[in-house]
């Protein structure tokens, strides 16, 4: 992507932060799945409240565990996508 003349230098840095070609759609898909899972968690919360109101213990705990797994998955994804300096063309990869 060429830098338009007269634009600030940040523009170039910003464009370099884009996912590699072909992976942008994968990133968007991951984000969409994450938001869907968050909706699932919201539903699980209403379910847990319903179970709490009806005095059921074990199933409330199971619902909380499922919600926790979704949260852990999100944390893992965040760690996986941690920003790492990308080597420039011609530069040796950093340690």
């Amino acid at each position: 992507m060429s830098v338009p003349p007269g634009r600030p230098d940040e523009y170039q840095e910003e464009t370099e932060r884009q996912p590699p070609p072909g992976q942008a759609s994968i990133a968007m898909l991951g984000l969409a799945i994450g938001i869907l899972l968050m909706s699932l968690q919201l539903w699980l919360l209403t379910l847990a409240f319903d179970l709490y109101r009806s005095g059921v213990r074990g199933e409330t705990l199971a619902v909380a565990l499922i919600s926790g797994l979704v949260f852990l998955g999100g944390l893992g994804m965040l760690r996986l996508l941690e920003r790492r300096p990308r080597p420039r063309v011609g530069e040796p990869p950093r340690e």
């Binding site: 003349p5 007269g6 634009r7 600030p8 940040e10 523009y11 910003e14 932060r17 990133a27 968007m28 991951g30 984000l31 994450g34 938001i35 899972l37 968050m38 968690q41 919201l42 699980l44 919360l45 847990a48 409240f49 319903d50 179970l51 709490y52 109101r53 009806s54 005095g55 059921v56 213990r57 409330t60 705990l61 619902v63 909380a64 919600s67 926790g68 979704v70 949260f71 999100g74 944390l75 994804m77 965040l78 996508l81 920003r83």
Partner: protein, 178 residues
């Protein structure tokens, strides 16, 4: 959004400084602000929201273990001789604002349930012909022996009220989940 003056004709001879100033007018957001809505930042926000939802769910689970839902104190609800087999007695339990139903089943047992429908809290009544507890608001049907949902939109059974029969007196001791 900033208004574009339009007074200055587009020209290739503009200096870089002039171009930058015009760009700042047309798009008055810095790159730092632009980064706030990046995918990575959105993902981070989503993960924290997910953590909050998990914390709320876990709190409910913890609460159900720490403080089981049982309400009410010992209270006289009826005399056994006043409720014939197949009959019912409406009362208030555990508080004066809570409807409750005492049933004398055909097999001789006494059972009592909360009179609030678990769907939207309408008052439940006893239908002797059908032998069921009915909620007239949305046609919820509950089993008279267990309080379980038989039909309609309610998803939870009616909370049961524990009874103690001493001679002719029937006492409600606490409201417990079915």
């Amino acid at each position: 959004m900033g208004a574009v003056s339009g007074a200055e004709p587009r020209s290739e001879r503009l200096s870089n400084r002039a171009r930058r100033e015009r760009w700042a007018v047309e798009f008055p957001y810095g790159w730092d602000a632009d980064e706030l809505v990046s995918r990575r930042e959105l993902l981070r926000l989503a993960v924290w929201a997910s953590g909050a939802l998990f914390a709320a769910t876990a709190a409910l689970a913890g609460l159900s273990y720490a403080r089981p839902r049982a309400r009410g104190t010992r209270q006289l609800v009826a005399r056994a001789s006043d409720v014939p087999p197949g009959g019912e007695r409406y009362s208030r339990y555990p508080t004066a604002d809570d409807h409750a139903i005492l049933l004398h089943l055909q097999d001789g047992r006494f059972v009592a349930f909360s009179g609030k429908c678990t769907h939207l809290s309408c008052a439940v009544y006893w239908n002797a012909e059908r032998g069921q507890l009915l909620c007239p608001c949305h046609n919820g049907v509950f089993d008279a022996q267990t309080g379980d949902v038989l039909a309609g939109p309610p998803s939870r059974p009616l909370p049961r009220i524990a009874l103690a029969v001493e001679g002719d007196a029937i006492y409600a001791t606490e409201e417990v989940a079915s």
